[in-house]
């Protein structure tokens, strides 16, 4: 099998459709391993990975850790709150100290946009961005695409509506780049205050009325709404947000029949998505979580799998 000819996975903006295809194909083989009774292959035996999480994470962290275990790599996980971050050590010092212990790949989540670029410049290890600030969350974008691809058999010419806080969302940015590269049509919807200052940069259309955005959609993706956005004055109240922009069955009647409902989690039920939709037959929220492990196994394999002498 081919490998990725890059040291790091920092974002989907700089990734080609061929690379994304390779990752999705590889993830399909990995998913098959996950379905075995004994979910373990020795592909990454003796390889060392660091999970460095400067922000809380349940899904992404668990998913990366499981991917590493299924691939037989050795890994350590460090959480920002328990680490040297609180002791004032710089990111560069922290990672260089761990790198010298033999780490070959760093998975990092960090609250500052661009921090994975900064890290990648400063270490020889491969860096996988597990979410940097408001910039990108490429593995989430890939697992979302993988989920859609598995369900629909293609990404080309699908219409995907992403609804909610696009402005602060790294998930949205990765999906905007990735899905469009794969030939999908992407539209975004939500209040203007939750849109990036310049949406033209992404080449997508913006709707303020959800019903119009989801018209004819194959996929509707809700994004998590953080309470602090209301506190910083971007919209008046959670109640009003739910009323105007929350996804409910009544609001998505004009979509395709075989619609997929997605959410990267964690969900605010009753705010950006109603429980009826989240738990309904169209929802693939749990499949997304399962895809996450397969995609991350694929990435680890493609970055580290070739024998390095």
């Amino acid at each position: 099998m081919q490998t990725l000819r890059r040291k790091d996975i920092l974002g989907l903006e700089e990734m080609s459709a061929e690379e994304i295809n390779l990752i999705l194909e590889t993830a399909r083989s990995m998913r098959e391993i996950m379905q075995r009774k004994i979910k373990k292959v020795p592909v990454l035996r003796g390889r060392s990975v660091l999970n460095l999480f400067y922000e809380p994470s349940t899904r992404t962290k668990a998913s990366f850790e499981l991917a590493q275990k299924y691939m037989s790599s050795d890994s350590v996980s460090v959480a920002g709150t328990s680490s040297s971050l609180v002791k004032g050590e710089t990111l560069k010092d922290t990672v260089r100290n761990v790198e010298i212990m033999g780490i070959e790949c760093v998975i990092m989540r960090h609250p500052v946009s661009g921090s994975s670029h900064y890290l990648a410049r400063n270490v020889e290890a491969s860096v996988i961005n597990a979410g940097d600030g408001m910039h990108e969350h490429p593995t989430q974008g890939l697992l979302d695409m993988f989920t859609i691809w598995e369900k629909k058999g293609r990404l080309e010419e699908l219409k995907v509506a992403i609804v909610g806080d696009i402005r602060h969302s790294r998930v949205a940015r990765s999906n905007l780049w990735g899905l469009q590269k794969m030939g999908a049509e992407v539209v975004v919807a939500g209040p203007p205050t939750l849109m990036p200052p310049d949406l033209n940069a992404f080449g997508v259309k913006h709707f303020t009325v959800i019903e119009e955005a989801v018209d004819g959609a194959d996929v509707v993706m809700a994004l998590r709404l953080q309470k602090e956005r209301q506190e910083s004055g971007l919209f008046p109240s959670m109640r009003e947000y739910a009323e105007l922009y929350g996804l409910t069955p009544q609001r998505i009647t004009r979509t395709k029949e075989d619609l997929l409902i997605m959410h990267p989690g964690p969900m605010n039920r009753g705010i950006e998505i109603s429980s009826e939709l989240a738990d309904g037959p169209q929802s693939v929220v749990l499949e997304q979580a399962a895809s996450g492990v397969a995609v991350r196994m694929a990435l680890l394999y493609l970055l580290l799998g070739g024998t390095k002498e």
């Binding site: 903006e13 710089t90 990111l91 560069k92 960090h110 609250p111 500052v112 946009s113 661009g114 921090s115 670029h117 900064y118 410049r121 940097d132 600030g133 408001m134 910039h135 990108e136 790294r170 940015r173 990036p196 200052p197 310049d198 949406l199 033209n200 940069a201 992404f202």
Partner: protein, 439 residues
Amino acid sequence: MKPLFITGGRVVDPARNFDDSADILIREGVVEKLEKELKQPPEAEVIDAAGLVVTPGLIDIHVHLRDPGQEYKEDILSGTRAAAAGGFTALAAMANTDPAGDDPSMIRYIYERAANAAAKVYPLGALTKGLEGKEMAELGRMKSAGAVGFSDDGRPVVDGTIMRNALQYACGIDAPVIAHEEDSYLFAGGVMHEGSVSSVLGLKGIPSAAEEAMMARDLLILKLTGGSLHLAHVSTAGSVELVRNAKAEGLQLTAEVTPHHLLLTDRLVKNSGYNTNTKVNPPLRTEYDRQALWAGLLDGTIDAIASDHAPHHPDDKDVEYDFAPFGIAGLETTLPLMLDEVASGRIKKFTLPLLVEKLTSAPARILDLPGGTLAPGSPADLTIIDLNREFIVNPETWYSKSRNTPFAGKRLTGAPVYTIVGGRITMKEGVVTENEKGA
């Protein structure tokens, strides 16, 4: 002190519209004669300036020396050495030190520390006590101690009444006020220009309106009060338009622009992979803004070029983008960057005499400083330039303690080869020596 005789150079003195080859005789720290051909006094030290350009000493009216308080980033000694290395004979030092330069003793401290420095230092006083924007500082007492102007630079004056009173009061003591135009609410914790690049990078944006709204307010206040206002580091097309219109209305104001705003755009934040040396306030703007700044510089809307030298310790910048402080160090790159623009001919009408004006007579006029010309009787502050000198920007060789430049590695044509302060050579071929008056 031996007389200094500079012979055979092309002398460019925009204050007098002079651009011709001439000899210059300097005696006792003063330009004694400047004529087509002078007799060389036998006892004089001679500089053969054939093939070189001789200009009035360059003046940088926007410099952060970080002294006192943050001497690990820069101090008066290292900052003035950097100035001399960059061809500057004088600089105006901003008051955002720790403690703030809001008291006559602080003004005197700067003069004392800079007494034998490689470049002259003119302290600017804080406009408000502790730079807090609440209470006017003792402008009159600081002026008596030698402050050449007043500014809270680095911070905006949020309260319009404070700005109104300060401008009006400064009028009475005949001192210019320098405004750092920024509406802190619109600024809102941004780290780069707000636009398509910030949208893609997921970095918090600083809209052009943050600068323009505050500038519009201050121009309206200026109309109310009269007085003399200088606008620091103008960075947007809208700001240029505001200044142009205000000048057309006859308001008494001047404006400066930095080399980095003239040469770089927000694209560099992306293309450099979030390099923190692109993080500066006001932020690098768009190509549209950059073109407008050049137009403003060429048509006289923008009076002067200033570095906004904002030195930081390399450790301070070697962090994640949001965590890095704002600022670009510019004392050792400003002149070469601008000379390179002249050499390249990229900007038609940006001639050597115009560049020299923007770095000599214009800044001297803005802050009413001595120098800025080579008229006989002027202080013997001179810069000698080799227009053909090629080099690569290498911050590792700087005299400044800082290394924070987005221009590292850039190949440039044109560099200063001598800096002369009060008739003494403080920089020769890139090597700086202090201006020891006793020696």
